[in-house]
């Protein structure tokens, strides 16, 4: 792609879902690297606390209390960014929420609420970003998908559906913008299970508290990948080798994956704790008791790095090179067959 992207320390970044998990980690990392930030989340107080923390370190920040599922709120994010900084270089649609439970047990209203945030939030954000960025020099639109953008899972059916839909929307937007030769890079980030407040904030309809299946990766790896894509045009990025593995196996052997998931995902998505009677989730409203936490702090091992992501982020050319080598090997082998026959009669 011929799109030119600035270095992070010259950028204005919009980040939704900035007060928790991946969004919070990305905001802090971007601040450290000198970016100017426009941070959005539903909880104004949490945003203010975060902004103070970042301003004390010299970061220029503006905050917008907004629900990405509401188009007018998302317009305010765009407006605030333009008023404060005059431009937007990267827009990161990160805000997301989940529900754990069998499809038969989850009320359709809750499913629709999830979809409003996870899908329509991305639609609103992407289109607002295009509006401000297309004719003003371009930039990067980065949408958070999931490994569940490629393969579904039991007990998080609507979350997977929303992330599949985000992938399709992002792919169509990318093709349409490329057709217009818009100076915009459109990236889909597909993380594996990440140690964030995801399982705490999710609504729960299971008999046990939700958990994430291993392997679980650190949110810093995702933040790193996002900020890399903000500076180097990427089509899509799996974060965590497990994400790529799920996607490829799901495609190559769907029945095997169905059986594997049935054997493992019911157990692994449930913790040992019975469902909490006073559980508060963040599906409809933010949970103020659980703001400004990057990680939940998983009892099991969290991988702090991903070799797969590190290699694939930087190597645009690896696949064609490997294919090319494979092709050469095949050609050489075929060319040598008559020689073999001559040699051995």
């Amino acid at each position: 792609m011929a799109v030119q992207l600035r270095k992070i320390d010259e950028q204005v970044l919009v980040i939704t879902g900035a007060t928790s998990g991946i969004g919070l980690t990305t905001a802090r990392m971007a601040a450290e690297q000198g970016a100017k930030l426009v941070l959005a989340a539903r909880n104004g107080e949490a945003l203010d606390t975060l902004a103070s923390e970042l301003r004390r370190k010299g970061t220029q920040v503006c905050t917008v209390a907004a629900d990405v599922g509401v188009p007018a709120d998302v317009e305010r994010i765009g407006q605030a960014a333009m008023e404060r900084f005059g431009r937007i270089d990267t827009w990161i649609n990160n805000a997301g929420i989940s529900i754990f439970g069998r499809n038969e047990d989850v009320p359709v209203e809750d499913m629709q609420r999830l979809f409003q945030t996870n899908y329509w939030g991305v639609v609103h954000g992407s289109l607002e970003a295009v509006k401000h960025m297309k004719t003003r020099g371009g930039g990067a639109i980065i949408n958070l998908g999931s490994e569940l953008s490629e393969r579904s899972v039991p007990l998080q059916g609507m979350y997977a559906a929303s992330k599949h839909a985000v992938k399709a929307f992002t792919d169509a937007l990318r093709m349409e913008l490329e057709k217009e030769k818009a100076p915009l890079s459109v990236t889909l980030i597909k993380p594996a299970a990440i140690d964030t407040m995801f399982a705490v904030h999710a609504r729960n309809y299971m008999d046990k508290e939700p958990a994430l299946p291993p392997p679980i990766y650190a949110p810093e790896i995702v933040a790193n990948a996002i900020l890399y894509a903000a500076q180097h045009p990427k089509r899509d990025v799996f974060v965590g080798g497990a994400a790529k593995a799920i996607s490829s196996s799901g495609f190559a052997a769907p029945r095997v994956m169905d059986k594997f998931m049935n054997a493992s995902m019911f157990k692994q998505q449930k913790s040992g704790l019975p469902r909490s009677p006073n559980r508060r989730d963040a599906l409809y409203e933010p949970d103020p008791r659980n703001e400004l936490r990057q990680r939940q702090g998983m009892p099991n091992h969290v991988a702090e790095s991903s070799a797969y992501t590190a290699v694939t982020l930087r190597s645009h050319k690896i696949a064609p090179v490997l294919l090319g080598l494979g092709g050469l090997l095949a050609a050489w082998t075929l060319a040598r067959r008559p020689a073999l026959r001559k040699a051995f009669g």
């Binding site: 188009p71 069998r102 499809n103 038969e104 359709v108 499913m111 629709q112 979809f115 899908y119 329509w120 639609v123 609103h124 992407s126 289109l127 295009v130 569940l148 393969r151 579904s152 899972v153 039991p154 007990l155 998080q156 059916g157 609507m158 997977a160 559906a161 929303s162 992330k163 599949h164 839909a165 985000v166 992938k167 399709a168 929307f169 792919d171 169509a172 937007l173 990318r174 093709m175 349409e176 490329e178 057709k179 089509r235 899509d236 495609f251 769907p254 029945r255 169905d258 998931m261 049935n262 995902m265 019911f266 026959r341």
Partner: protein, 347 residues
């Protein structure tokens, strides 16, 4: 390939619920099922069209109930279930087929049109699936068949929201299938993924492009889709493509996504528009049915319509037959790569 432990009845012993029954694939499927002797519960938004269709079928001795309903409304879908049970005592197969499109870029299509599309294509399927599962569990099992699309596996420019809805249908169907299998429920869950089918889909879609919409070739017949759907009503299948093109697109998008991006940029923008300008008075069926265009199975899109598809038929063979066919194909390929034995000519 799917769980063979689930037994499904022959069509002539079945009660089949079918949404979007008054047009295109739904209409073709309804007629084919009627011919096969099934008892039908036909659903669409337009009561007059349903009555006309039911009348046509009753004249041939088919037992039909009709329900005018918008699948996007959960209460109306509950009414479908109640009607089926009141009239026929149970449901054996539930086919979530109702769907609609929009043609235009994501930047130009109005948000309320995108949302309306999603309401029908995704929430209609969610509502229908959950109602079907409830009925199946109460009455001994059955087949749930959700109509996805080739766009379930691969997005399309100018139909971004449609593709998003079909991607979501695929994921929802997949998670529901796993959950039902865990329960060991005697319910078969199938996702049908048609390639471009020659139905009034482009005419019913809301259009933002300058010219009238159409679909890229190859175009397959709605009867091919109907046969595929009704196969899944009798034989448990996980997913079925309709049209070899759909399978090809799916595989290529997985292994060569950027190449397909480029191909679509070069070809698919053009291929989805005719050279007829779109009339400002154009009517579509997005927010309400278009009464003038009901009861059409096929549409003439000015392109060749492929009636048969070797790949589609191949999918529907038994595992044993598929093994023999694939084995035979591999054997043939191997034989062709062998150098012929040297002929010794005696003078």
């Amino acid at each position: 390939m799917a769980s063979k432990a689930i037994k499904l009845k022959k069509l002539n012993e079945q009660v089949i619920v079918l949404t979007g029954a008054t047009s295109g694939i739904g209409l073709a499927t309804a007629r084919m099922a009627a011919e096969a002797g099934a008892r039908l519960v036909l659903v669409a938004r337009e009561a007059d069209a349903l009555d006309a269709l039911a009348h046509e079928m009753r004249q041939r001795g088919v037992e039909v109930a009709t329900v005018a309903a918008d699948v996007g409304v959960q209460d109306e879908v509950a009414k479908i279930g109640r009607t089926a049970v009141e009239r026929f005592g149970r449901v054996d197969t539930w086919i979530n087929n109702a769907g609609i499109g929009t043609f235009g870029t994501l930047e130009e299509v109005k948000l309320e049109d995108m949302q309306r599309l999603m309401q029908t294509n995704l929430w209609g399927v969610v509502n229908g699936s959950l109602e079907a599962v409830k009925l199946f569990k109460a009455h001994g099992g059955g087949a749930l068949i959700n109509v996805g699309s080739e766009a379930s596996d691969r997005s399309i420019p100018l139909q971004g929201t449609y593709a998003a809805s079909k991607h979501a249908v695929r994921a929802f169907t997949e998670s529901l299938r796993m959950e039902l299998e865990k329960d060991k429920a005697p319910i078969s869950v199938t996702l049908i993924k048609p390639a471009a089918i020659a139905t009034p889909f482009p005419m019913h879609a809301k259009n933002y492009m300058e010219n009238e919409p159409t679909l890229p070739s190859p175009l397959y017949s709605p009867e091919l889709a109907a046969r595929t759907i009704l196969h899944a009503a009798e034989v448990p299948e996980r997913d079925l493509f309709v049209g070899g093109q759909a399978k090809l697109a799916s595989v290529l998008s997985q292994i060569l996504p950027r190449t397909i991006d480029r191909f679509m940029r070069a070809a698919v923008f053009k291929q989805q528009q005719t050279d007829q300008p779109s009339s400002p008075a154009r009517r579509d069926a997005l927010h309400a049915p278009d009464a003038r265009r009901e009861l059409r199975q096929r549409a003439d899109l000015g392109k060749k319509i492929t009636e048969t598809s070797p790949y589609t038929s191949f999918q529907m063979q038994s595992t044993a037959t598929k093994t023999v066919l694939l084995g035979g194909a591999l054997l043939a390929a191997w034989a062709l790569t062998r150098k012929p034995a040297r002929r010794v000519w005696h003078a």
